[in-house]
């Protein structure tokens, strides 16, 4: 009898131990809103592509949820006193998925590839680097043409992703068909529009923190279908839950919802001096643009279109960002002020404005709400809905009065501003030009300390909010929904899914 008892207890303890085992290695299935483009960090340009890279390719540095730069493949770095040299110490014992060792030579080869590959979309991001010098197996010195405060932030994204130099040399521009990096998962297979499968890389330097055998990314564009898949258990996690589906997801006890305000913005860009069409009252008189801004109730817009899930915005960064200028908080609607400004500009009886808008549901809904609000002040907005490629072409050619468009956002504040407001800015489709703004933006780019830079951006934002070549409306909130067996997921403002330390516990 005692034997039986012991056996029973042993069995029970054993069974408990089994069921309580916290980590179950499995295939993690993640639904993406769209299919990634080419899987080459130097060539790619889509947001979902970056989500795949977060599991596939390690970067020199990473960020914290508070946007601080932390080590990844580079363990430490030091900038010379004059700001033109960055010396980096690299992590030892790292190998690429094809067995090529990661070292200073590999970093040099990667920077060269990003700068010289014809198809590279990273050239402008690494423009400040004029040379690299390998000073040890695990030490590299980057020489800069001029001090560049934005460089480390660039290296925390695609420009800092390290691909195997051996594989890159062999494949050339076709590298994306079979990407080889050094991240926690290696590339297994891709079926366009169906799935991207990655398998756990056994020799990953931080392999202990990776608790899934494989991860499969499935593009499922329809938000309802994406959520249905999560509810039926066909997928484990999804990104970009529609704000309108929040209530349904939150009501499901098997689903956890997490969110983070993004780094980017959405707004209305005005044509100030881009060709003939810029020569109109809206381009010539900032009071009209100010009037429109006063006429908009940004919080109401957020409530109506996004059920309050996004963040109302009036600056190029959300109020959660350390770069936000707190002297100019988001204010409510002020129709009287808007009307007064219109009258001052000579349009007391109202004025027409033509806004081009991408032909999808959300931008149209946003602009219809803005249209209704503006009408209260006497601004008669007509909306021209265009397919995105057309909208972009017209905007860049100056064939528009105002355009509803946004920016996905960058870690460094420079990325959300410099190219839009400086006279020679690459995507300054407003053709806004102000010597003071150029000076501030250039100074902020090379600023030595964060405090110094913050002061420059604060000043620049004051001018931006007065000139309003971009009228900011809101900031997207990334919303992830996942099976409640997933533990340890951390939402990041860059919208990425980092799987280090994430576990599956049933």
């Amino acid at each position: 009898m005692t034997h039986f008892k012991t056996a029973l207890i042993t069995a029970l303890v054993g069974a408990t131990a089994l069921t309580a085992s916290p980590v179950i290695a499995k295939d993690l299935r993640i639904a993406l809103q769209s299919d990634a483009d080419v899987l080459d960090p130097d060539q790619s340009r889509t947001f979902v592509g970056r989500i795949v890279y977060a599991s596939l390719c390690d970067k020199l540095v990473d960020i914290t949820p508070d946007l601080e730069i932390i080590p990844q493949l580079a363990t430490s770095w030091e900038t010379s006193a004059d700001g033109t040299q960055v010396t980096m110490q690299l992590r030892e014992g790292v190998v690429f998925h094809d067995g090529t060792p990661f070292n200073a030579e590999a970093v040099a080869a990667n920077i060269e590839r990003s700068q010289t590959l014809d198809e590279s979309r990273r050239k402008s991001e690494l423009k400040s680097i004029t040379g690299t010098e390998v000073t040890g197996d695990y030490e590299i010195v980057l020489t800069l043409g001029a001090p560049d405060a934005t460089l480390m932030a660039q290296l925390a994204d695609r420009a800092g992703m390290m691909v195997s130099p051996t594989a890159a040399a062999e494949a050339g521009a076709d590298f994306g068909l079979n990407p080889v990096c050094s991240g926690p998962f290696s590339f297994t297979e891709r079926v366009a529009q169906d799935k991207i499968v990655l398998s756990k890389f056994a020799d990953y330097w931080n392999a202990d923190e990776i608790n899934f055998d494989s991860v499969t990314f499935l593009p499922i564009p329809d938000t309802t279908v994406r959520l249905a898949n999560l509810q039926s258990g066909d997928i484990d996690m999804l990104e970009r839950l529609a704000a309108t589906d929040l209530a349904q997801a939150e009501a499901d006890e098997n689903i956890v919802v997490d969110r983070a305000v993004s780094l980017g913005y959405q707004g209305i860009t005005f044509n100030i001096g881009n060709g003939e069409k810029g020569d109109n009252p809206w381009g010539n008189d900032k009071r009209l643009r100010q009037a429109l801004s006063y006429a908009i109730d940004r919080e109401a817009l957020n409530q109506v279109v996004f059920e309050g899930a996004f963040a109302a915005g009036n600056q190029p960064f959300p109020s959660t960002s350390p770069w936000y200028n707190t002297n100019f908080p988001v204010e409510g609607q002020d129709i009287e002020k808007a009307k007064a400004l219109l009258a001052e500009a000579g349009f007391a009886d109202g004025i027409d404005l033509e806004v081009q808008v991408p032909n999808s549901t959300v931008p149209l809904a946003v602009m219809q709400v803005v249209q209704a609000m503006a009408a209260q002040a006497g601004i008669n907005i007509s909306l021209t809905s265009k397919e995105f490629a057309t909208l972009l072409a017209d905007q860049s050619a100056g064939d528009y009065q105002a355009s509803q468009i946004g920016w996905s956002g960058r870690i460094d504040p420079d990325g959300n501003n410099h190219q839009f407001v400086t006279t020679d800015g690459g995507i300054n489709d407003s053709k806004f030009s102000d010597p003071k703004m150029d000076e501030l933006m250039d100074a902020a780019r090379v600023g030595a300390t964060t405090e110094e830079r913050k002061a420059l951006y604060d000043e620049a934002i004051e001018i931006m909010l007065d000139e309003l070549n971009r009228v900011f409306l809101y900031h997207v909130t990334w919303i992830w929904a996942y099976n409640n067996s997933i533990k340890g997921f951390t939402p990041y403002p860059d919208g990425m899914i980092r799987l280090e330390g994430v576990t599956w516990e049933e």
């Binding site: 299919d35 279908v225 249905a228 039926s232 490629a389 057309t390 860049s396």
Partner: protein, 314 residues
Amino acid sequence: MLRFLFRRILIALPTIVIISIFVFLLQKLLPGDPLLVLAGEERDPEVLEFLREKYRLNDPIPVQYFAWITNALQGDLGTSLRTGQPVTELMAEKLPVTIQLAVMSMIFALVIGIPAGILSAVKKGTATDYVANVVALSGLSIPNFWLGIMLILLVSVKWQLLPASGYVPLSEDFGQSIRTMLMPSFVLGTALAATLMRHTRSSMLSVLSADYVRTARAKGLSERVVVLKHALRNALTPIVTLSALLFGELVAGAVLTEQIFTIPGFGKLVVDAVFNRDYAVVQGIVLVTAVGFIFMNLFADAMYFVLNPRLREA
């Protein structure tokens, strides 16, 4: 018969040439610059210029067309601007998926449409006829996307019987592959079944009043033999044409169905390519689909010979 087919193929050739020009020009007529989207958010002018050169967009349009058609004739339809994969490879990857969807949908359509059509013709004016008509009409009127989402919510989310979306190749897991395709092919199949049912019904009705059917009945043949053996065979001729023409509807329907159920087939490929301005893919697919359509019609013509002996002598 061979001469007839040969003549048909000769007529088809200029059609294909015209289609190829049309497909190519349509892409060029679309407003907007595809490269602005492809160059990335920063729209680096250097990258833009490189891409323009690479995809020969600086050449005059006729030069671009001849370069494309010459390569196409050699089986090279270019590479996807978005993923860098060769278009022919993409199509080879997607074609089996859509064929599986099309075949399964057609089975649904035929199994529902033809018996319903026969039944409602034979029982004309009765309750059965009306019920069949109402069912057919709803099949035609309910939009695919609505029916699809309702089925997903009911069958996958609520009952958890079938996968909500996606695709598993037949070779990988036969059972699972059929299971994932059941809902999409049902959605696509019901819409076609309605058309088939209406046509079978009217075709059967006209045949059933023909003299030879009366003769067959007078011979004392059972109603079953009269309907299935004598009437149906003749009534089927127009149905075969229709089924071939429905192929077009099937491809069009697949575009929507694949989008809802996230099936990585031809339809989804073309929609995504249009949205992403991946014009090498769009041109390739439209060309191949058009040629496929022409061949389906040729096939239908050939089927007449098999079904109708009188044509063979003509």
